[in-house]
């Protein structure tokens, strides 16, 4: 099979996903457009060489509807021959988009494709697309649906992570992100968002709270306690996991991923197209995988998809130099570290979504770019990026520098 290589990766800064966030005035279409413009301009691409653009988007309604990928292609003035498709694998959409772009290259369907994602959570709030997951009673009953925060608290309860454990993890995420920004570790990938006159709108991740301490998080009330107790979700979780004596609610805004706006894209192609266009491949896609896991606890897919992707890559845990798992909730990463016996020094070395935010459809492509930058900075070779996914899934990608 043809190898797929990463030629470039860009992401926008992440704006606070609220009405006072810097990117709130920018349309989702514009975010997607600027990602594509930057990928084109940085490599001086003749876009006629690109076969397809795949964008993850989790709430593809309103201004994110009507296939935001194709809309972005047209708006960025790509050749009209460039197709576009929007995909939704919830939180892993961005990584799934890169995997699908890679698969198109590997299979020979495409020579070059872009995988990425866009999500303006301030403009199209989470849940805007409805869907049966939470609302179809028969289905929700059968699958023991609980909101993700309850799932995260269930992981903490079941695997023994205390409030202090999750807060300490969050504090470390903040300090790593702050240090990484100060050291300019994201500079290769970040592309500032600008207005129609070329004036900069946002150049840095604005959700971060450097200087966060365990003490400063202490006053935050668990965010999902009321929902769990008053609306029956604790009971649902305990009916699915009857070994649990009582639910412990430990997550809050300070140790969960931030709600932000942003977009990202990864340029993938075969070796020949790179040579033709004079582009230097940065990394090879070693393996990709997605998996389903138990939907009530929902967020334990990463450990399962990791085993699967390593097996597909013919690798073991020890073959991976750097690990990146989306910080959806602190307990998700803590459980992953526990299950795989990883030290915190090996994973999410430049912080993650707790500090910088999680623009749902785009995050997967963002963390792949982040971990590639880190491989290059440290001279290391292999990395595994993965995300937990709603309704119980996991998606992962292993890359190797070339």
């Amino acid at each position: 099979m043809t190898d797929a290589f990463i030629y470039d990766a860009v992401r926008t800064p992440r704006g606070r996903g609220k009405k006072d966030g810097s990117l709130h005035e920018v349309t989702a279409l514009e975010l997607g457009t600027q990602v594509l413009e930057n990928l084109r301009d940085r490599s001086e691409l003749d876009t006629a060489n690109i076969d397809d653009v795949i964008f993850g988007c989790v709430s593809p309604v309103g201004e994110q509807g009507t296939d935001i990928a194709r809309m972005s292609v047209l708006n960025a003035d790509y050749e009209e021959t460039v197709a576009g498709v929007q995909v939704n694998r919830f939180c892993a959409s961005g990584l799934e988009a890169v995997n699908m772009a890679s698969a198109k290259v590997m299979s020979g369907e495409a020579d070059m494709a872009i995988g990425g994602g866009v999500e303006s959570m301030s403009r199209v709030p989470m849940g805007s697309d409805g869907g049966p997951m939470a609302s179809d009673p028969e289905f929700a009953m059968k699958t023991y649906f609980v909101p993700q925060g309850i799932s995260a608290d269930l992981i903490a309860t079941k695997h023994g992570f205390s409030r202090n454990d999750v807060d300490a993890y969050a504090v470390e995420s903040q300090s790593r992100a702050d240090a990484a920004w100060k050291a300019g570790r994201f500079s290769r990938t970040i592309v500032p968002v600008t207005d129609r006159n070329g004036i900069e709108v946002l150049a840095h991740d604005e959700h971060m709270r450097p200087g966060t301490t365990v003490e400063s998080l202490e006053s935050l009330r668990p965010a999902f306690a009321d929902m769990g107790k008053q609306y029956g979700f604790d009971a649902v979780a305990m009916q699915r996991y009857p070994e649990v004596a009582a639910m412990e609610h430990v997550h809050h805004a300070g140790n969960s991923s931030g709600i932000v706006d942003g977009a990202a894209g990864v340029l993938v192609g075969n070796e020949a197209i790179g040579q033709k266009l004079g582009l230097k491949p940065r990394a090879r896609i070693r393996a990709m995988a997605s998996i389903g896991s138990e939907p009530c606890i929902m967020l334990t897919g990463p450990e399962k998809v990791t085993a699967k992707v390593l097996q597909r890559a013919g690798m073991t845990k020890d073959d991976i130099d750097i690990w990146e798992l989306n910080e959806a909730f602190a307990s998700v990463v803590l459980r992953y570290m526990q299950a795989l016996d990883l030290d915190h020094s090996q994973i999410n070395v430049n912080g993650g979504a707790i500090a910088m935010g999680h623009p749902l459809g785009a995050t997967g492509a963002m963390i792949l770019g982040t971990v590639l930058d880190e491989l290059e900075r440290t001279g290391k070779s292999t990395a595994l990026a993965t995300l937990c996914v709603g309704a119980g899934m996991g998606t992962a990608t292993v890359i190797e520098r070339v």
Partner: protein, 733 residues
């Protein structure tokens, strides 16, 4: 027409529902087909301006004839599952089509509701364009189908939410609560409340006002109150509603799930499609054994038992006018309350006047609370309290038709009060013991008239528990039994009749549930898992929690007494050590002293005692199992252990009627109501399969799971309890 009367006055047809030979109208094939014909005739008649639908009885209609429903699914048995489903769907959908025809017939239709309109009765009214309810304080309006495992199947799940919104209508259907006139008007279930004599006139006046004969949901621009399932305000209702439903039901009640689903799916489509959705879900319930079992036990059997199905034939009816109660403790006081409430004069006797007065105070306190909640009045309070005479003098028992002793569970004390009572009461008066543990035959030895001696076992709290277990001792005569059944009927409780045995029926079986939980604990099953498994079976409380509520020291004492009584037959189990240590050494008595299997911190929810697993290890040597059993396996153990005990009681003729066994289990010790009772559970699992499962459990856990000879015989013959011991056939034989 047999079931309807028609009057046409000044262009308005008044169609009055009045089924012959019944005190209450019901929806059955006869009444509905006549209704359909009448509607078509009136619609075709140009002289008819509009239609008023009313009732010739005090009430409007109670709903569908559940015996018919039971019959319809039973009749179709044997057909191919797909054909059976199709036949049931078509049958169920007929009524929906009829009522849809009514509301789209083009002429205004109003319902004049004189009294109660429940279930199908209300659904007929909801299909009318206008509803006038009589100013009748007894009138109940509601959709109670889910209480017996069914759902509204004549458009109720579609029309009520379209009128009130999902938020307001779902609780009414999921909990089956009925409304009184004021609430019905305030919520908008009816349009108008008027004196009973004026309801037809009001309905006629509405028709004369030339209203638009179109339902709101058929008008252009109609919006669902509160929004549909995918609106911003509607979505959370279904998300939270599902979680709340699972919390309450543990997924054991398909009817509630079907109701929620019908509203969710139905609100997204126009009425015609919505009604088909409802009929499809209704059909799925008719095909579900859970619904059949619930209808049978919670409605049909309960009603039959309440009407004296188990009363010996050939004994003249008795009517208890004066009741003696010995012992004014918790039970005696409760018995006095429920009896006085039924208009029975009570003599409440205790060893001194103060104790007896304290027992009467119980009724006074209870009534005060009810008055506060506006559920009673000071006049009723006075009337009821007047009926309770307190005394310490046995002579006051003279003239009692029935005397119930509720003194300490001590044979000596019981013998003493029996003698003192019999010395003063008439020869034909009945003496009953409210013992929950001591065999009646033994207690009757103290009696000079053992044929007039019977067991009447109440459950605590007496005013809230609907069951009474009547125990027939070896010498108990038919007259005593009949008097006991009549008395229980008079106080509006459900009697079951059982034969004498240790623990009788209910206490004997109930104990197995708690005991099985303790066995699991001793084996190293995690306490949280035991408790959650217990709750998931549909039992009202978890096993260890139940132990704490009953009190461990009490269980310990009963255990010691049983050990003494049984002698060599007593089997020592690892459980004994755990309980002994907790009671004797650690003084962990349960909820009553704030420590048992749980700790009860002040101002915080109780939680499992953290040292419990250490104690288990110390007493049994068993660590917590490294691989904990599947919750389904634990649920099976907890339910089957009770069911196998019930099957033994049946084989040993402690219970002799399947209705007693099932209704007694549900009302007496809270046996999973969704199952319809232990014998229904066995039938539904299939006797052969049940025997096989129990053999496997016996191989692992011991002979307490061993099926009896009768079960094995039934398994071999492919029989079921309700097939072989069907009460109607047994009675006929």
């Amino acid at each position: 027409m047999d079931n309807w009367k028609l009057d046409t006055i000044d262009g308005v047809a008044v169609l009055s529902w009045d089924m012959p030979g019944r005190s209450m109208n019901v929806l059955n094939e006869g009444s509905m087909s006549e209704f359909a014909e009448a509607i078509e005739t009136l619609v075709a008649d140009d002289a008819v301006e509009g239609i008023v639908i009313t009732s010739g009885k005090t009430d409007f209609a109670a709903g569908a004839d559940l015996t018919m429903l039971g019959g319809s699914s039973a009749n179709a048995e044997g057909a191919l599952p797909k054909d059976r489903a199709k036949a049931l769907f078509e049958q169920s959908h007929q009524l929906n089509q009829l009522l849809r025809r009514l509301e789209t017939c083009g002429k205004p239709v109003a319902a004049a509701i004189p009294g109660t309109a429940l279930g199908g009765g209300l659904e007929v009214a909801l299909a009318c364009h206008y509803r006038v309810l009589a100013d009748n304080p007894k009138a109940q309006v509601g959709l109670p189908e889910s209480k017996v495992g069914l759902m509204p199947g004549a458009g109720g799940t579609q029309r009520l939410p379209r009128m009130l919104g999902a938020m307001q209508s779902l609780p009414l259907m999921l909990q089956g609560k009925s409304l009184r006139k004021d609430a019905a008007l305030a919520m908008g279930v009816v349009n108008e409340v008027a004196p009973a004599s004026e309801i037809v006139a009001k309905a006629t006046a509405w028709i004369k006002s030339k209203p638009e004969a179109v339902q709101p949901w058929d008008k252009k621009g109609y919006r669902i109150p509160g929004g549909g399932p995918y609106s911003k305000s509607g979505a959370p209702i279904f998300m939270m509603g599902t979680a709340m439903l699972r919390k309450e039901s543990y997924g054991n009640y398909p009817a509630q799930e079907a109701i929620l689903q019908a509203v969710y799916e139905g609100l997204q489509v126009p009425m015609e499609a919505a009604l088909r959705i409802e009929s499809r879900l209704f059909t799925s319930l008719l095909l579900d054994p859970t619904s059949r079992n619930m209808i049978r036990s919670l409605f049909l059997s309960m009603q039959e038992l309440g009407k004296g199905a188990r009363r010996p034939q050939g004994v003249a009816p008795t009517n208890c006018q004066k009741l003696g109660i010995l012992g004014a403790g918790m039970m005696g006081a409760g018995i006095a309350y429920v009896s006085a409430k039924a208009g029975i004069e009570c003599v409440l006797l205790d060893r001194d006047q103060a104790s007896a007065d304290k027992g009467k105070q119980y009724s006074a306190d209870l009534l005060d609370k009810l008055i506060l909640k506006k559920r009673s009045t000071t006049a009723k309070r006075a009337q009821l309290l007047d009926l309770i005479h307190t005394t310490s003098d046995y002579a006051d028992l003279a003239g009692c038709d029935l005397v119930i002793e509720a003194v300490f569970e001590d044979r000596g004390i019981k013998a003493d009060v029996t003698k003192k009572t019999e010395a003063v009461i008439n020869e034909d008066a009945i003496f009953a013991s409210n013992t929950s543990t001591l065999p009646i035959t033994g207690l009757a030895e103290a009696s000079i008239r053992p044929e007039k001696f019977v067991g009447i076992h109440f459950f605590s709290p007496v005013d809230r528990m609907g069951l009474v277990e009547i125990i027939v001792g070896e010498k108990t005569g038919d007259e005593a039994l009949a008097a006991a059944v009549d008395y229980v009927g008079k106080i509006r409780k459900t009697p079951i009749v059982v034969n004498d045995s240790r623990g009788f029926y209910t206490s004997r079986c109930f104990g197995t549930y708690v005991q099985e939980g303790l066995e699991m604990l001793a084996q190293g099953v995690s306490p949280a898992l035991i408790e959650n498994a217990g709750r998931q079976t549909g039992m009202p409380r978890a096993p260890l929690e139940m132990n704490d509520d009953v009190a461990l020291d009490l269980s310990y004492k009963v255990g010691m007494q049983t050990k003494k009584d049984l002698g060599d037959a007593w089997i020592e189990t690892p459980v004994t050590g755990i309980i002994e240590k907790m009671v004797v050494e650690l003084e962990r008595f349960g909820r009553k002293n704030g420590k048992g299997f749980y700790d009860y911190p002040e101002g915080a929810p109780k939680h499992l005692w953290k040292d419990l697993t250490d104690l288990v290890k110390e007493q049994t040597g068993n660590e917590q199992l490294a691989e904990q059993p599947d919750v389904e396996h634990l649920k099976q153990r907890l339910l089957y252990r009770q069911a196998i005990e019930a099957s033994r009681c049946f084989e040993e003729k402690v219970v002799t009627d399947v209705r007693d066994a099932d209704v007694g289990a549900i009302l007496g010790w809270g046996f999973a109501p969704w199952s319809g009772g232990p014998l229904s559970l066995i039938d539904t699992v299939g006797v052969a399969r049940f025997v096989e499962d129990c053999d496997a459990l016996a191989a692992t856990y011991g002979p307490r799971f061993e099926p009896g000879g009768l079960l094995r015989e039934m398994a071999a013959n492919g029989e079921s309890y309700y097939g072989r011991f069907n009460p109607s056939q047994v009675a006929a034989a």
